[in-house]
Symmetry: C2
Subunit: 428 residues, 2 copies
């Protein structure tokens, strides 16, 4: 056997998998607290499903892993969780709306693997389908805030609306064919600053001086969320911009407590994907080595209907969390290579020690026991190497006095305790 | 978009996924209580890894989904979790032994999909690598018993040893080339009965009358576990059989409590796969429409070393749980199409109702709220259709008196309660 992983794929040994599971479980818990239910769809999809009309762009198909089954049917590995969501909605006309679901699952992209990209990676999507108004956006922002607070990662949650951006482009009089380029350049404002944005608008998007001046006028507006909204309301008179500003205003009204201090209205935020139709969100860590987005999403009222080739909108809002980057940003250090909290070391007392291990396990304590009759020092080395926090040493003497030696592996402290005390201590 | 799943794959809508998650979480919890840690390996493996020398048989490669990446490297979707485990062990020489891991992940087989087989299905493996003695087997049997007790599925846990089976074949004087056929026929004893086994041994395995008589002599032995062991110890004098019988005896000694009443020594149990070298286990439901195996495994001391092309043994024991069949055997009825426990119905009080939803969520209660301003009767229909157990109706009157109407959707009973009482009641 060649001892190699497929390119762009990774193993997660217990020390890493334990950390990943914690993050994923925190996400799952918070999604469910807000009434989002789990959905599972297959990894294998028919290729014609994956290649359906996708407003996100056709380039993704170049990075789609293709294969066939025995019957020569064309299949692919899913590249996102949104196309399967659309298929499920199409296939289940009796689904009650709103449909609030989350899915935490792997997706595949056969792209270049430089810059830390992977070909197989975890995607975490939470979406609500069937709600037209901003209550849905507010709920997703609350989930986002709650999650990052729970994992104690300091972040900014930036929000904007595509409607406002469209209004800005119109205000500056930018021609249709230059709008996409201009949007993508404006999106970089936070990273490269206003001067560099202006230069790119001139040189890359080929805007004229008047247009650049108008854009610059908008993005010189600063201040608190409310101030920005007021200033923009005065400048952007078109219906769509006013609508977008009102939506942002309404969202911020419902997000008015101190706990939402980190929700920032940022009129330059675009998010690359073309399919957003209203609000967009993006989450970036504060004072962190990771400067890039750790979560992002927005409203996409047209995409599902377009995939299903239906008339009209199927309103939807969603947000995706990037588990890999979140773990990087947390700089979690694996503290253990095992889930075990206590390691039982029998000294020629296997049968009785097993009974004690059984009692600990019944109390819900993650317990391991030496099964090989190794000597105490080898067992201590093993517990130490795996980072198990406590060991329990059980010899004949301990059995006689019905008290057992509990050793704290970090401090080295040993205590002689009754079983009840040990269970109590381990449960703390 | 063609509204179809790839053949042999399934979606799990919330009502089913919630049930599956419960079973999977119960497994995860019990594995971790016994000190088994999670491992994650990629779905995509190099094809040369998947096609390594596999003592389980080469036929599996015919059912392996093959694909290539951009660089034309040959890849495949994993067909089991054991080959990846072997690769991980080979790639990580510093892994501490014993290595106790579980993995709950999908695997793929491009086989016929009649008889309810799927091409993409969940596999749940728990294995301990590095332990030669039966303490490992005992631990896995305890996990198995604990899991089925937790989910309240009445089962028999049958155990045997390949060493005993080999001893029986030798005792009956069966030639090497007939041993595999004979083993597979003997394995069917429970299903087809002794007479049919004898007939197949004659007609299919081409055993002579003397051989059939000897086999029949062994399998006429009945009684309790200890009695069977004693009788077999007297008949099977060869070293290997005696060794196997002693192992089973030692296992049963450590599994002597009442809670292990359902562990049955069954000398006819073989399990199809050729790679088992010692103990084998098989779990079948009792008094259930599902008659087939819901979990199975055994000791395979040679397989990992063989995959890694190493001299000597790398001892390992494992067991796999079949989540699909377990769910079928439990005959679980989906009681809800959502995780939500309480649905808040604002009557023109969205902002205040949202505050109340926030309080419930902070208390960890899975809470949903109508975001669309629908009328009460539409909202009750929605809650009813999704199977949400409670709704909370909040109008101006309720806000003034600071008491809210909690409706039990099953009984129809309504109570006017304070927030503290509602939280209390929902937490019960």
């Amino acid at each position: 056997m060649k001892l190699e992983n497929a390119r762009g794929t990774r193993d997660f040994l217990p020390e890493d998998k334990i950390q990943r599971d914690k993050i994923v479980n925190t996400l799952r818990e918070i999604f469910e607290t807000f009434g989002y239910s789990p959905l599972e769809t297959p990894v294998l999809e028919r290729f014609d499903v994956l290649s359906s009309k996708y407003t996100g762009g056709a380039e993704i198909l170049k990075e789609t892993f293709k294969l066939t089954d025995q019957g020569k049917r064309e299949l692919g590995l899913r590249y996102d969780l949104t196309v399967p969501l659309a298929r499920v909605i199409g296939q289940n006309p009796n689904l009650k709306m709103p449909f609030k679901r989350y899915q935490i699952d792997k997706v595949w992209r056969d792209g270049p693997i430089n810059l830390g990209r992977y070909r197989e990676f975890l995607q975490t999507d939470v979406d609500v389908v069937g709600i037209k108004n901003i209550n849905a956006e507010v709920e997703l922002i609350e989930i986002t805030r709650g999650f990052f607070q729970a994992i104690r990662l300091d972040v900014l949650i930036k929000i904007n609306s595509r409607k406002i951006l469209n209004g800005i482009l119109e205000f500056a009089g930018i021609e249709k064919e230059k709008q996409l380029d201009a949007t993508l350049i404006i999106d970089k404002l936070d990273k490269i600053g206003l001067d560099a944005v202006k230069q790119e608008l001139r040189q890359v998007a080929r805007l004229d001086e008047q247009q650049v001046k108008k854009i610059s006028e908008i993005f010189s507006i600063s201040g608190k969320n409310e101030q920005k909204i007021i200033s923009l309301k005065m400048k952007l008179k078109e219906g769509e911009a006013q609508e977008g500003l009102k939506e942002i205003d309404d969202m911020l009204t419902l997000l008015s407590g101190d706990e939402f201090d980190n929700v920032i209205f940022d009129p330059s935020l675009a998010r690359g994907l073309a399919y957003y139709t209203g609000a967009v969100f993006e989450v970036v860590p504060v004072d962190n080595k990771i400067k890039s987005t750790v979560a992002g999403g927005g409203r996409y009222d047209k995409m599902i209907a377009s995939l299903l080739e239906r008339e009209g909108d199927i309103p939807a809002v969603g947000i995706s969390f990037g588990v890999d980057r979140i773990i990087d940003a947390l700089e979690l250090k694996a503290d253990a290579k095992t889930v075990t909290k206590i390691f039982v070391i029998p000294i020629k007392t296997y049968e009785q020690s097993l009974e004690i291990a059984r009692r600990l396990r019944k109390a819900g304590i993650k317990t391991d026991i030496d099964m090989q009759g190794r000597g105490p020092s080898k067992n201590l080395d093993y517990a130490n190497a795996l980072g198990i926090p406590h060991v329990l040493i059980i010899g004949e003497t301990e059995l006689k006095q019905n008290k057992f030696k509990l050793k704290d592996m970090k401090t080295g402290k040993e205590e002689l305790l009754s079983m009840a005390d040990i269970v109590q201590k381990m449960k703390e």
